[in-house]
């Protein structure tokens, strides 16, 4: 039997706001496994922080259940839950020294001062911040404060560590190195991490699984690869990375999970069907990542210019280059398809392919059908 550290069962959280009831979390159900690095990803106001606060016990759900290690948390106050939080602004106690901050949680447990001091020292060493115990939080840099906040939470040896945009206040470079460190730390301590972020790149590089949230709803839960390569909704495809959306009409569904989509110019292409797509849906968007698109220049009339041969599982369309942008490793092309559809493609700047395509040039664009997903419009 799989062991779940945290289970959310049909959680709803409503807030009173100016006389109206606002649903911050809307029927969220998810099970998070023991030792998992789980990211809650979404734009600000999507309900991810509220979800975290519901697990921590700072908020009570309007309906639904929070289970931690199989135990229902209803009526259990935050200070009796086996979870600890790293707050967005760290919330280090400004009147206490770094060491006293880290010892705070142990003192609340009744650990005697000597043992607490020893464990606090070990925790500070674990986050690679020894020798600052005597200092006050405001005497440390943002990155150091972040480590203290981590040590303060980890020293309690919680079942689950909740992190609310812990790297949000750090500059880009520090954030990158902290991402690796956090990930390594999580492997080291083996504690379940639930990590709230609005940074999709952060979620993709760090998490074992990601839940994408929007307007209180958990739209999709999956591994970073699944989320990136198989987005099930327009929002997810749009929020994570860059995506092309080609509007079309769904003509029919094939038995293999693919559908036939008629584009504006009448061309019919095949694409994977999103699971989230309603049965009655007819207007769809075909989502395809820019780096999954290949471009072949139309060769001289003798046909030696490249492979045009249509393959069964490849879509090939005519297009015109409308612009290009050199961005170092890649070149980013904008292309016009028939029927006013626009497309962005990214080609890697390899040694062989350095000759840029010219604006106005007629080309063929192609992609594997499995790279395209038909989802809600």
């Amino acid at each position: 039997m799989a062991t779940f550290d945290v289970e959310l069962i049909d959680i709803v959280k409503e807030f009173e706001s100016g006389g109206a009831r606002v649903r911050a979390v809307d029927r969220v159900s998810v099970a998070i496994e023991d030792g998992e690095f789980f990211a809650l990803l979404g734009p600000s106001g999507c309900g991810k922080t509220t979800t975290l606060r519901l697990i921590a016990g700072f908020e009570q759900p309007t309906s639904g259940q929070v289970l931690i290690r199989g135990r229902a948390m209803e009526g259990i106050p935050a200070y009796h839950r086996p979870v600890n939080t790293v707050f967005q602004d760290y919330a280090l106690f400004p009147h206490l020294s770094v060491e006293q901050n880290v010892m705070f949680g142990l003192e609340m447990e009744g650990v005697d001062k000597k043992a607490a001091r020893k464990r606090a020292g070990e925790a500070l060493e674990k986050v690679r911040l020894p020798g600052v115990g005597e200092r006050k939080p405001h005497q440390l840099s943002g990155g150091q404060q972040q480590r203290v906040a981590l040590a303060r939470a980890l020293v309690k040896q919680p079942a689950v560590l909740l992190l609310d945009e812990p790297l949000g206040a750090l500059d880009l470079k520090l954030r990158k190195s902290m991402q690796y460190e956090l990930k390594a730390l999580q492997r080291d301590v083996g504690i379940t991490f639930i990590y709230v972020t609005h940074d999709q790149e952060e979620a993709i590089t760090m998490a074992d699984r990601i839940a994408v949230m929007s307007e209180g709803v958990m739209l999709q839960v999956g591994t970073p690869k699944e989320i990136y390569e198989r987005p099930q909704t327009h929002f997810v495809a749009d929020f994570i990375g860059e995506t092309n959306f080609i509007p079309g009409a769904l003509l029919g569904r094939d038995a293999d999970g693919y559908g036939r989509v008629k584009l504006a110019d009448g061309t019919v292409i095949r694409a994977r069907l999103s699971h989230a797509l309603g049965n009655a849906a007819s207007a769809v968007s075909v989502a395809i990542r820019p780096e999954r698109i290949g471009i072949t220049p139309l060769g001289p009339p003798d046909g030696s210019g490249g492979r045009h041969t249509p393959l069964d599982d490849v879509t090939v369309l005519d297009a015109v280059v409308t612009g290009s942008q050199y961005i170092g490793t890649d070149t980013r092309y904008t292309l016009a398809l028939g029927g006013e559809a626009e497309l962005v493609a990214r080609l890697q700047n390899t040694a062989e392919r350095n000759a840029a395509l010219q604006s106005g040039q007629r080309v063929k664009v192609y992609w594997k059908d499995s790279s395209a997903t038909a989802l809600d419009h």
């Binding site: 921590a56 016990g57 700072f58 106050p77 935050a78 200070y79 009796h80 979870v83 600890n84 939080t85 707050f87 602004d89 919330a91 280090l92 106690f93 400004p94 009147h95 705070f104 949680g105 609340m108 447990e109 303060r152 939470a153 309690k156």
Partner: protein
């Protein structure tokens, strides 16, 4: 900050300092003539002998200080303990009130409750204190009410007691406790309470270990603002305390009247000021420790 830049700032501020001193000169002169000088005169007078009609005469003597700590010591002690008790009661009543006000979610509720705290200031202090005479008197409102309900058989003696003075002082100075604590709690980041809960602190511990220490500046300021004027109060004990509730302020007041004793009054004033200064020192040190901590 860049070193060169900070040096530049220093020279710029140096010029500002000069013109600043010039601007402050009138005020400094005013304070010197009407505050420092009179204070020095009071200090000198307190060591002089009493002449006919209570005026000060040579030779120098320590007798007024001796009397202050001898005959009048009981009144000095009463003043300090009444002021201390006033401060403690104001704190116990004022902290929850200030906490309640600053944690209201609705701005309007906050503003109304704050307004109610400040409202008494709109009426003259003397009139408000007289009102307490009517409330606390033998045939006063409170006695009348209690008698008619039958809780008591004969009127309670409340007026002209230390109790009445205490009631008057707490009533008068409560806003001075509430306002600075309100400001402190208003600035307090409740994320720290979340953090305390998160680390296993229950309500009481979160309050004692996190909220109270972080709102201590307001508490200390409130205590200073209540204690200092309470020690020297004379209107309240004069109207509500009678002879049993006499405080050092009343004693000083009398010495400068017709049959008074100016040197004695001066000595009493100096001692009272010393008490206030000492309590201020306690405030400053406590505050510094809070800030360093």
């Amino acid at each position: 900050m860049d070193r060169q830049f900070s040096l530049d700032m220093k020279t710029r501020w140096g010029h500002m300092k000069k013109s600043g001193a010039l601007l402050a000169l009138p005020t400094i002169a005013w304070l010197f003539i009407f505050f420092v000088l009179p204070l020095l005169i009071v200090l000198v007078v307190s060591f002089l002998s009493r002449g006919r009609g209570g005026v000060a005469l040579l030779p120098f003597t320590l007798q007024h200080y001796e009397r202050t700590f001898d005959v009048f010591f009981i009144i000095l002690r009463r003043s300090i303990s009444l002021a201390g008790l006033t401060t403690v009661i104001c704190l116990l009543v004022g902290y929850p009130l200030a906490f309640f006000i600053s944690t209201r979610r609705r701005r309007l509720v906050q503003q109304i409750t704050l307004f109610l705290v400040i409202l008494p200031f709109w009426t003259n202090f003397l009139i408000r204190t007289y009102a307490w005479r009517i409330l606390l008197g033998e045939q006063g409102t409170i006695n009348g009410l209690l008698l008619s309900v039958g809780v008591i058989d004969e009127p309670l003696t409340m007026l002209n007691t230390q109790f009445a003075v205490l009631v008057g002082l707490v009533y008068g100075f409560l806003p001075f406790m509430v306002l600075p604590i309100y400001a402190s709690v208003e600035r307090f980041n409740f994320r720290y309470v979340d953090a305390a809960y998160d680390l296993g602190a229950n309500d009481a511990r979160a309050f004692l270990r996190v909220i109270l220490p972080l709102t201590m500046p307001g508490v200390l300021a409130g205590c200073a603002l209540v204690f200092i004027p309470s020690v020297g109060a004379f209107v309240t004990p004069d109207l509500l305390g009678g002879t049993r509730g006499l405080m050092i302020g009343n004693l000083i007041n009398k010495q400068f009247g017709g049959s008074g004793n100016m040197p004695l009054g001066s000595a009493l004033s100096i001692v009272m000021m010393a008490v206030v200064m000492l309590s201020l020192l306690v405030y400053v040190f406590a505050n510094r420790r809070e800030r360093g901590a």
